[in-house]
Symmetry: C2
Protein backbone atom coordinates (compact mmCIF):
# COMPACT_ATOMS: atom_id res chain seq x y z
CA UNK A 1 0.00 0.00 0.00
CA UNK A 2 1.55 3.26 -1.13
CA UNK A 3 -0.16 6.62 -0.75
CA UNK A 4 1.24 9.75 -2.33
CA UNK A 5 0.09 13.19 -1.30
CA UNK A 6 0.51 16.32 -3.35
CA UNK A 7 -0.62 19.46 -1.60
CA UNK A 8 -0.96 23.20 -1.85
CA UNK A 9 1.06 25.07 0.76
CA UNK A 10 -1.10 25.63 3.83
CA UNK A 11 -3.77 23.10 2.86
CA UNK A 12 -2.96 20.68 5.67
CA UNK A 13 -1.66 18.01 3.29
CA UNK A 14 1.28 17.14 5.48
CA UNK A 15 -0.95 16.75 8.53
CA UNK A 16 -3.30 14.54 6.53
CA UNK A 17 -0.32 12.40 5.46
CA UNK A 18 0.92 12.02 9.03
CA UNK A 19 -2.52 11.15 10.35
CA UNK A 20 -3.20 8.69 7.54
CA UNK A 21 0.08 6.95 8.28
CA UNK A 22 -0.94 6.71 11.94
CA UNK A 23 -4.45 5.44 11.14
CA UNK A 24 -3.05 2.83 8.74
CA UNK A 25 0.02 2.13 10.84
CA UNK A 26 2.39 2.54 7.91
CA UNK A 27 5.52 4.57 7.26
CA UNK A 28 5.47 8.32 6.65
CA UNK A 29 8.13 10.07 4.57
CA UNK A 30 8.80 13.70 4.11
CA UNK A 31 11.88 15.33 5.60
CA UNK A 32 13.12 11.76 6.13
CA UNK A 33 13.47 11.49 2.39
CA UNK A 34 15.62 14.57 2.37
CA UNK A 35 17.89 13.12 5.01
CA UNK A 36 18.27 9.92 3.04
CA UNK A 37 19.11 11.86 -0.10
CA UNK A 38 21.55 13.98 1.82
CA UNK A 39 23.33 10.83 2.94
CA UNK A 40 23.48 9.55 -0.60
CA UNK A 41 24.66 12.74 -2.18
CA UNK A 42 26.89 13.95 0.65
CA UNK A 43 25.22 17.33 0.44
CA UNK A 44 23.78 19.15 3.39
CA UNK A 45 20.08 18.75 4.06
CA UNK A 46 19.32 22.44 4.12
CA UNK A 47 21.04 22.89 0.79
CA UNK A 48 18.95 20.11 -0.72
CA UNK A 49 15.80 21.62 0.75
CA UNK A 50 16.69 24.88 -0.91
CA UNK A 51 17.36 23.22 -4.25
CA UNK A 52 14.13 21.25 -4.13
CA UNK A 53 12.07 24.30 -3.32
CA UNK A 54 13.66 26.71 -5.75
CA UNK A 55 14.69 24.50 -8.64
CA UNK A 56 14.44 23.66 -11.41
CA UNK A 57 13.61 26.29 -13.85
CA UNK A 58 15.01 26.21 -17.35
CA UNK A 59 18.07 28.42 -17.45
CA UNK A 60 17.28 29.57 -20.97
CA UNK A 61 14.20 31.14 -22.56
CA UNK A 62 11.70 28.49 -23.60
CA UNK A 63 11.47 29.82 -27.15
CA UNK A 64 15.10 28.82 -27.73
CA UNK A 65 15.31 25.39 -29.31
CA UNK A 66 16.78 23.11 -26.68
CA UNK A 67 19.12 21.12 -28.89
CA UNK A 68 21.04 24.30 -29.57
CA UNK A 69 21.70 24.61 -25.87
CA UNK A 70 23.27 21.40 -24.70
CA UNK A 71 25.32 23.29 -22.17
CA UNK A 72 23.67 22.91 -18.76
CA UNK A 73 24.55 25.16 -15.88
CA UNK A 74 26.27 23.49 -12.90
CA UNK A 75 23.27 24.36 -10.71
CA UNK A 76 20.81 22.68 -13.08
CA UNK A 77 23.07 19.68 -13.22
CA UNK A 78 23.06 19.53 -9.43
CA UNK A 79 19.26 19.82 -9.34
CA UNK A 80 18.97 16.96 -11.82
CA UNK A 81 21.38 14.84 -9.82
CA UNK A 82 19.33 15.41 -6.71
CA UNK A 83 16.13 14.52 -8.54
CA UNK A 84 17.70 11.25 -9.70
CA UNK A 85 18.82 10.40 -6.17
CA UNK A 86 15.46 11.36 -4.81
CA UNK A 87 13.66 9.12 -7.31
CA UNK A 88 15.83 6.16 -6.37
CA UNK A 89 15.25 6.84 -2.68
CA UNK A 90 11.47 7.08 -3.07
CA UNK A 91 11.37 3.82 -5.03
CA UNK A 92 13.52 2.10 -2.41
CA UNK A 93 11.32 3.31 0.44
CA UNK A 94 8.09 2.33 -1.31
CA UNK A 95 9.47 -1.13 -2.03
CA UNK A 96 10.65 -1.56 1.53
CA UNK A 97 7.24 -1.09 3.18
CA UNK A 98 3.74 0.42 2.94
CA UNK A 99 4.10 4.18 3.15
CA UNK A 100 2.61 7.64 2.84
CA UNK A 101 4.91 9.92 0.84
CA UNK A 102 4.41 13.67 0.69
CA UNK A 103 5.24 15.69 -2.41
CA UNK A 104 8.46 15.18 -4.42
CA UNK A 105 6.61 13.99 -7.55
CA UNK A 106 6.20 10.62 -5.79
CA UNK A 107 2.89 9.97 -7.60
CA UNK A 108 4.78 10.13 -10.88
CA UNK A 109 7.97 8.42 -9.74
CA UNK A 110 5.97 5.46 -8.39
CA UNK A 111 3.46 5.27 -11.25
CA UNK A 112 4.43 1.67 -12.08
CA UNK A 113 3.31 0.41 -8.68
CA UNK A 114 0.00 2.36 -8.81
CA UNK A 115 -0.01 4.30 -5.57
CA UNK A 116 -3.22 5.90 -4.28
CA UNK A 117 -2.66 9.48 -5.32
CA UNK A 118 -4.21 12.24 -3.22
CA UNK A 119 -4.08 15.97 -3.90
CA UNK A 120 -4.96 18.33 -1.06
CA UNK A 121 -6.05 21.92 -1.70
CA UNK A 122 -7.99 24.71 -0.04
CA UNK A 123 -9.17 28.24 -0.63
CA UNK A 124 -6.70 31.07 0.06
CA UNK A 125 -8.50 32.30 3.17
CA UNK A 126 -8.26 28.98 4.96
CA UNK A 127 -4.66 28.42 3.83
CA UNK A 128 -3.63 31.77 5.30
CA UNK A 129 -5.48 30.91 8.51
CA UNK A 130 -3.82 27.51 8.77
CA UNK A 131 -0.35 28.93 8.10
CA UNK A 132 -0.79 31.65 10.68
CA UNK A 133 -1.98 29.21 13.32
CA UNK A 134 1.00 26.99 12.67
CA UNK A 135 3.68 29.60 11.96
CA UNK A 136 6.45 27.01 12.26
CA UNK A 137 9.18 29.59 11.75
CA UNK A 138 7.58 32.26 13.96
CA UNK A 139 7.63 34.68 11.09
CA UNK A 140 4.45 36.45 12.14
CA UNK A 141 3.68 37.47 8.54
CA UNK A 142 0.92 39.88 7.59
CA UNK A 143 -2.01 38.42 5.67
CA UNK A 144 -0.69 40.01 2.52
CA UNK A 145 2.81 38.64 2.99
CA UNK A 146 1.49 35.18 3.87
CA UNK A 147 -0.59 35.13 0.70
CA UNK A 148 2.46 36.08 -1.34
CA UNK A 149 4.46 33.31 0.32
CA UNK A 150 1.74 30.70 -0.35
CA UNK A 151 1.50 31.71 -3.99
CA UNK A 152 5.26 31.66 -4.38
CA UNK A 153 5.78 28.24 -2.78
CA UNK A 154 3.01 26.75 -4.94
CA UNK A 155 4.38 28.39 -8.07
CA UNK A 156 7.67 26.63 -7.42
CA UNK A 157 5.98 23.30 -6.70
CA UNK A 158 4.04 23.58 -9.93
CA UNK A 159 7.17 24.40 -11.89
CA UNK A 160 9.10 21.58 -10.29
CA UNK A 161 6.35 19.01 -10.88
CA UNK A 162 5.80 20.06 -14.45
CA UNK A 163 9.54 20.04 -15.21
CA UNK A 164 10.13 16.49 -13.99
CA UNK A 165 6.82 14.83 -14.86
CA UNK A 166 5.62 16.72 -17.92
CA UNK A 167 2.21 16.81 -16.21
CA UNK A 168 0.23 19.59 -14.59
CA UNK A 169 0.48 19.81 -10.80
CA UNK A 170 -2.96 19.64 -9.19
CA UNK A 171 -4.76 18.62 -12.43
CA UNK A 172 -7.39 16.02 -11.55
CA UNK A 173 -6.36 13.42 -14.12
CA UNK A 174 -3.11 12.86 -12.21
CA UNK A 175 -4.85 11.96 -8.93
CA UNK A 176 -7.30 9.44 -7.52
CA UNK A 177 -8.76 11.79 -4.96
CA UNK A 178 -8.72 15.57 -4.61
CA UNK A 179 -9.70 16.93 -1.22
CA UNK A 180 -10.65 20.52 -0.45
CA UNK A 181 -9.72 21.06 3.20
CA UNK A 182 -11.17 24.58 3.53
CA UNK A 183 -13.95 23.58 5.89
CA UNK A 184 -12.59 20.24 7.05
CA UNK A 185 -11.03 18.91 10.21
CA UNK A 186 -8.02 16.95 9.03
CA UNK A 187 -8.18 14.41 11.87
CA UNK A 188 -11.75 13.49 10.99
CA UNK A 189 -10.94 13.35 7.29
CA UNK A 190 -8.02 10.98 7.95
CA UNK A 191 -10.03 8.67 10.17
CA UNK A 192 -12.75 8.33 7.51
CA UNK A 193 -10.37 8.13 4.58
CA UNK A 194 -8.08 5.45 6.03
CA UNK A 195 -10.56 2.54 5.90
CA UNK A 196 -11.54 3.47 2.35
CA UNK A 197 -7.93 3.46 1.14
CA UNK A 198 -7.34 0.21 3.00
CA UNK A 199 -10.28 -1.37 1.16
CA UNK A 200 -8.74 -0.44 -2.19
CA UNK A 201 -5.56 -2.38 -1.45
CA UNK A 202 -7.21 -5.61 -0.25
CA UNK B 1 -27.66 18.03 4.47
CA UNK B 2 -27.40 18.75 0.77
CA UNK B 3 -24.98 16.96 -1.53
CA UNK B 4 -24.46 18.05 -5.11
CA UNK B 5 -22.75 15.84 -7.64
CA UNK B 6 -21.22 17.03 -10.87
CA UNK B 7 -19.93 14.23 -13.07
CA UNK B 8 -18.26 13.38 -16.33
CA UNK B 9 -20.43 11.23 -18.58
CA UNK B 10 -19.68 7.56 -17.87
CA UNK B 11 -17.86 8.20 -14.60
CA UNK B 12 -20.54 6.56 -12.44
CA UNK B 13 -21.54 9.84 -10.81
CA UNK B 14 -25.22 9.08 -10.99
CA UNK B 15 -24.72 5.65 -9.39
CA UNK B 16 -22.65 7.26 -6.64
CA UNK B 17 -25.45 9.78 -6.05
CA UNK B 18 -28.11 7.08 -5.84
CA UNK B 19 -26.05 4.93 -3.49
CA UNK B 20 -25.13 7.89 -1.28
CA UNK B 21 -28.80 8.78 -0.97
CA UNK B 22 -29.52 5.17 0.05
CA UNK B 23 -26.66 5.05 2.56
CA UNK B 24 -27.73 8.35 4.07
CA UNK B 25 -31.42 7.68 3.67
CA UNK B 26 -32.08 11.03 2.04
CA UNK B 27 -33.79 12.15 -1.16
CA UNK B 28 -32.25 11.74 -4.59
CA UNK B 29 -33.06 14.07 -7.48
CA UNK B 30 -32.19 13.77 -11.10
CA UNK B 31 -34.89 13.09 -13.68
CA UNK B 32 -37.33 13.96 -10.90
CA UNK B 33 -36.17 17.53 -11.17
CA UNK B 34 -36.94 17.49 -14.86
CA UNK B 35 -40.44 16.25 -14.19
CA UNK B 36 -41.00 19.00 -11.68
CA UNK B 37 -39.78 21.60 -14.12
CA UNK B 38 -41.99 20.14 -16.80
CA UNK B 39 -44.98 20.60 -14.53
CA UNK B 40 -44.05 24.16 -13.81
CA UNK B 41 -43.33 25.18 -17.35
CA UNK B 42 -45.97 23.07 -19.06
CA UNK B 43 -43.35 21.85 -21.46
CA UNK B 44 -42.80 18.21 -22.24
CA UNK B 45 -40.08 16.43 -20.26
CA UNK B 46 -38.24 15.14 -23.30
CA UNK B 47 -38.13 18.62 -24.76
CA UNK B 48 -36.66 19.98 -21.54
CA UNK B 49 -34.14 17.17 -21.47
CA UNK B 50 -33.10 18.13 -24.95
CA UNK B 51 -32.81 21.80 -24.08
CA UNK B 52 -30.78 21.09 -20.97
CA UNK B 53 -28.38 18.85 -22.84
CA UNK B 54 -27.89 21.00 -25.92
CA UNK B 55 -28.31 24.53 -24.62
CA UNK B 56 -27.24 27.18 -24.04
CA UNK B 57 -24.63 28.48 -26.36
CA UNK B 58 -24.42 32.17 -27.14
CA UNK B 59 -26.18 32.78 -30.42
CA UNK B 60 -23.71 35.49 -31.38
CA UNK B 61 -19.92 35.53 -31.68
CA UNK B 62 -18.28 36.26 -28.35
CA UNK B 63 -16.20 39.11 -29.77
CA UNK B 64 -19.38 41.11 -30.36
CA UNK B 65 -20.04 43.42 -27.46
CA UNK B 66 -23.16 42.09 -25.75
CA UNK B 67 -24.90 45.38 -25.07
CA UNK B 68 -25.17 45.91 -28.81
CA UNK B 69 -27.14 42.69 -29.08
CA UNK B 70 -30.06 42.90 -26.75
CA UNK B 71 -32.14 40.81 -29.12
CA UNK B 72 -32.22 37.24 -27.82
CA UNK B 73 -33.40 34.36 -29.95
CA UNK B 74 -36.65 32.66 -28.84
CA UNK B 75 -34.74 29.43 -28.20
CA UNK B 76 -32.23 31.16 -25.91
CA UNK B 77 -35.09 32.82 -24.12
CA UNK B 78 -36.70 29.43 -23.60
CA UNK B 79 -33.43 27.98 -22.31
CA UNK B 80 -33.10 30.84 -19.86
CA UNK B 81 -36.69 30.41 -18.71
CA UNK B 82 -36.06 26.74 -18.07
CA UNK B 83 -32.88 27.52 -16.16
CA UNK B 84 -34.83 29.94 -13.95
CA UNK B 85 -37.53 27.36 -13.28
CA UNK B 86 -34.90 24.73 -12.64
CA UNK B 87 -33.11 26.96 -10.13
CA UNK B 88 -36.33 27.59 -8.25
CA UNK B 89 -37.14 23.89 -8.25
CA UNK B 90 -33.70 22.89 -6.96
CA UNK B 91 -33.90 25.48 -4.16
CA UNK B 92 -37.38 24.27 -3.22
CA UNK B 93 -36.30 20.64 -3.12
CA UNK B 94 -33.17 21.37 -1.08
CA UNK B 95 -35.21 23.39 1.42
CA UNK B 96 -37.82 20.67 1.67
CA UNK B 97 -35.46 17.89 2.82
CA UNK B 98 -31.91 16.54 2.87
CA UNK B 99 -31.01 15.50 -0.66
CA UNK B 100 -28.46 14.38 -3.22
CA UNK B 101 -28.81 16.38 -6.42
CA UNK B 102 -27.07 15.38 -9.64
CA UNK B 103 -25.84 17.94 -12.15
CA UNK B 104 -27.88 21.00 -13.20
CA UNK B 105 -25.42 23.51 -11.68
CA UNK B 106 -26.94 22.65 -8.29
CA UNK B 107 -23.60 23.31 -6.54
CA UNK B 108 -23.80 26.89 -7.79
CA UNK B 109 -27.54 27.39 -7.43
CA UNK B 110 -27.40 26.25 -3.79
CA UNK B 111 -24.16 28.05 -2.89
CA UNK B 112 -25.84 30.05 -0.12
CA UNK B 113 -26.73 26.93 1.84
CA UNK B 114 -23.21 25.42 1.43
CA UNK B 115 -23.90 21.97 0.02
CA UNK B 116 -21.17 19.31 0.01
CA UNK B 117 -20.02 19.51 -3.59
CA UNK B 118 -18.64 16.37 -5.22
CA UNK B 119 -17.21 16.05 -8.72
CA UNK B 120 -16.85 12.57 -10.20
CA UNK B 121 -14.46 11.86 -13.07
CA UNK B 122 -12.55 8.98 -14.62
CA UNK B 123 -10.12 8.19 -17.41
CA UNK B 124 -11.54 7.68 -20.89
CA UNK B 125 -10.89 3.94 -20.95
CA UNK B 126 -12.96 3.26 -17.85
CA UNK B 127 -15.72 5.65 -18.94
CA UNK B 128 -16.07 3.79 -22.24
CA UNK B 129 -16.11 0.48 -20.37
CA UNK B 130 -18.78 1.69 -17.94
CA UNK B 131 -20.96 3.10 -20.72
CA UNK B 132 -20.72 -0.10 -22.74
CA UNK B 133 -21.62 -2.25 -19.74
CA UNK B 134 -24.63 -0.10 -19.04
CA UNK B 135 -25.73 0.77 -22.56
CA UNK B 136 -29.05 2.13 -21.34
CA UNK B 137 -30.27 2.86 -24.83
CA UNK B 138 -28.95 -0.38 -26.38
CA UNK B 139 -27.00 1.61 -28.90
CA UNK B 140 -24.15 -0.88 -29.10
CA UNK B 141 -21.69 1.86 -30.06
CA UNK B 142 -18.15 1.16 -31.23
CA UNK B 143 -15.37 2.28 -28.90
CA UNK B 144 -14.64 5.17 -31.23
CA UNK B 145 -18.29 6.27 -31.37
CA UNK B 146 -18.68 5.92 -27.60
CA UNK B 147 -15.62 8.10 -27.03
CA UNK B 148 -17.06 10.73 -29.37
CA UNK B 149 -20.36 10.64 -27.49
CA UNK B 150 -18.66 10.99 -24.09
CA UNK B 151 -16.61 13.95 -25.29
CA UNK B 152 -19.66 15.58 -26.83
CA UNK B 153 -21.90 15.20 -23.76
CA UNK B 154 -19.17 16.60 -21.51
CA UNK B 155 -18.50 19.48 -23.88
CA UNK B 156 -22.14 20.47 -23.56
CA UNK B 157 -22.13 20.10 -19.78
CA UNK B 158 -19.05 22.30 -19.58
CA UNK B 159 -20.61 24.92 -21.81
CA UNK B 160 -23.87 24.88 -19.87
CA UNK B 161 -22.15 25.12 -16.50
CA UNK B 162 -19.85 27.91 -17.59
CA UNK B 163 -22.71 29.87 -19.19
CA UNK B 164 -24.90 29.87 -16.08
CA UNK B 165 -22.30 29.97 -13.30
CA UNK B 166 -19.38 31.84 -14.85
CA UNK B 167 -17.17 29.11 -13.35
CA UNK B 168 -15.24 26.26 -14.89
CA UNK B 169 -16.95 22.87 -14.81
CA UNK B 170 -14.75 20.29 -13.06
CA UNK B 171 -12.22 22.85 -11.75
CA UNK B 172 -11.23 21.86 -8.22
CA UNK B 173 -11.93 25.21 -6.56
CA UNK B 174 -15.66 24.70 -7.18
CA UNK B 175 -15.84 21.39 -5.30
CA UNK B 176 -15.21 19.93 -1.86
CA UNK B 177 -14.22 16.52 -3.12
CA UNK B 178 -13.14 15.23 -6.53
CA UNK B 179 -13.23 11.48 -7.00
CA UNK B 180 -11.54 9.55 -9.77
CA UNK B 181 -13.65 6.41 -10.27
CA UNK B 182 -11.37 4.72 -12.82
CA UNK B 183 -10.34 1.88 -10.53
CA UNK B 184 -13.07 2.17 -7.95
CA UNK B 185 -16.15 0.17 -7.04
CA UNK B 186 -18.88 2.78 -6.64
CA UNK B 187 -20.77 0.79 -3.98
CA UNK B 188 -17.70 0.62 -1.76
CA UNK B 189 -16.91 4.29 -2.35
CA UNK B 190 -20.45 5.29 -1.35
CA UNK B 191 -20.43 3.19 1.82
CA UNK B 192 -17.14 4.77 2.95
CA UNK B 193 -18.03 8.28 1.86
CA UNK B 194 -21.46 8.44 3.49
CA UNK B 195 -20.30 8.46 7.15
CA UNK B 196 -17.68 11.11 6.33
CA UNK B 197 -20.24 13.42 4.73
CA UNK B 198 -22.60 12.78 7.63
CA UNK B 199 -19.88 13.85 10.08
CA UNK B 200 -19.51 17.18 8.24
CA UNK B 201 -23.15 18.08 8.76
CA UNK B 202 -23.32 17.29 12.49
Amino acid sequence: MTITIGREFGSGGRELARRLSEELDIAYYDSEILREIAERTSLSQSYIQEIIEKRPHPSFPIHVVRTFHTAISPIDEQANLIYQEQSATIKDLANKSDAVIVGRCADYILRDIHPFRIFVYADMESKIKRCNEKDTWHENLSERAMKAKILSVDRNRKKYYSFYTGNTWGAKENYDLMVNTSKVEIASLASHLAPYIKSLFV
